[in-house]
């Protein structure tokens, strides 16, 4: 029987020449990223093709995606976050489609790879830090000095603040990666039980897998939302320096 971790195996599909000594072969992970962005684009563009004043179901879904992210951004950041809306929306849809496509049997979940989620989280971290320095210059460093704390305590507090800031990309990436990997592994383990217990005993893990599949779809949405909302919160910190 296949290992529950086999589903995370990267397989090069098209061998490509190395760029600067790095292997950039087109893999199953890359294939599912392509499928995700293709489907997400088709979902939005085809949904909006009628540009109806009173939207149908499909157009409603496209509009709801837009307004969901738009509301999230304006609630967390306010109008100052408007220029970053396309990025937050892209991030949310990319993770959401990656998560949801992973639920398709025999597909590949690229969001279950720590290097992918870390790449996204580190991009967010880098971008937010650049925005903060561009907006506030050196004054941004006051973000690491909590207000109303005795000077003696600052020797302790400032390193903690800096450390917590630096761990943001780590927690952000591990949260998504761990959720997706754990969920998929669990599904695979119970699917293995179905085969193992056979026609008489297999029904219980099958029923459980049905429930878990529903739960996993919820997690797909939830983790995409959490990633996007945390990005908004970091963006708000960078723009407004609230603490």
């Amino acid at each position: 029987m296949a290992s529950p971790l086999e589903q995370f195996q990267i397989e090069p599909l098209i061998k490509l020449p190395k760029i600067a000594g790095i292997d950039v072969s087109y893999t199953n992970s890359a294939l599912w990223m392509t499928i995700a962005i293709g489907l997400a684009t088709l979902f939005l563009v085809l949904g909006m093709r009628q540009r109806a004043l009173v939207p149908g179901r499909w157009q409603s879904m496209a509009e709801i995606s837009y307004e969901f992210v738009s509301t999230m951004l304006s609630e967390q950041v306010g109008s100052a976050g408007r220029p970053y809306f396309p990025f937050i929306f892209t991030l949310f849809m990319f993770i959401l489609f990656g998560n949801l496509l992973g639920m398709v049997p025999y597909s590949f979940t690229f969001t279950s790879h720590i290097i992918v989620t870390f790449g996204l989280a580190f991009t967010v971290f880098l971008g937010v830090t650049i925005i903060a320095f561009a907006k506030h210059g050196v004054h941004f460093l006051s973000f690491f000095v909590p207000k109303g704390v005795p000077v003696v305590m600052l020797f302790l507090m400032v390193p903690i603040e800096i450390l917590s800031y630096l761990t943001r990309p780590v927690s952000l990436s591990i949260r998504l990666f761990a959720n997706m990997m754990a969920g998929h592994t669990m599904l695979k383990v119970f699917a293995g039980f179905i085969i193992g217990l056979g026609i008489w005993g297999g029904w219980a893990p099958l029923a459980l897998n049905v429930v878990l599949t529903g739960f996993e779809i919820l997690v797909c949405f939830l983790q995409a939302y959490v990633f996007a909302v945390l990005t908004c919160i970091y963006l708000n910190d960078a723009i407004h320096l609230h603490h």
Partner: protein
């Protein structure tokens, strides 16, 4: 765990960057402007419709006020005309009543006068007849002629309800 195999970190990051950048361009240049346009168009349409509705409501209010004012004016006019007509009618009837009253009183006066004259005439006839009857009765009872002047006086007294 395949996720920790560093051999594939390069390709994954490379294709993540490519996919994400392509997706970002697709979203920001193609998908989002379309959705944004439709949402904006709808918001504008709704605002426009609300404004038009408010305008129509104001117009209806103005029309109602105008209508009520004309109605009040017409009612006042009607009342005034009604009152004038009633006044004229009562004046005419009063005049006619007065005229009829005078004519009737004149006729009554004339009739009373005629009755008085008739009574005078009747009374003088009765007197002369009473004198003659008294003369004749005196002749029969006493014989001879009675004193005419005295009879006259007696008859006069009897006619005045003082007979004895």
């Amino acid at each position: 765990m395949p996720q920790l195999d560093p051999n594939f970190f390069g390709t994954q990051l490379f294709w993540l960057a490519v996919s994400f950048i392509v997706f970002y361009v697709l979203m920001s240049k193609v998908a989002l402007p379309r959705i944004g346009d439709v949402l904006e168009m709808r918001a504008e349409k709704i605002t426009g419709d609300l404004d038009a509705a408010a305008k129509a409501r104001d117009e209806a209010k103005a029309a109602l006020a105008h209508y009520e004012k004309s109605l009040a004016d017409a009612r006042a006019e009607a009342q005034r005309a009604n009152r004038e007509a009633a006044d004229a009618a009562s004046a005419a009837s009063n005049a006619r009543l007065a005229e009829v009253g005078t004519r009737i009183s004149a006729e009554i006066a004339a009739a009373e006068r005629r009755i008085g004259e008739a009574r005078e005439a009747a009374m003088s006839n009765v007197r002369s007849m009473a004198v003659e009857v008294a003369q004749a009765a005196y002749g029969k009872l006493v014989g001879g002629q009675a004193d005419t002047a005295r009879l006259d006086a007696l008859v006069e007294r009897a006619l005045k309800g003082d007979a004895r």
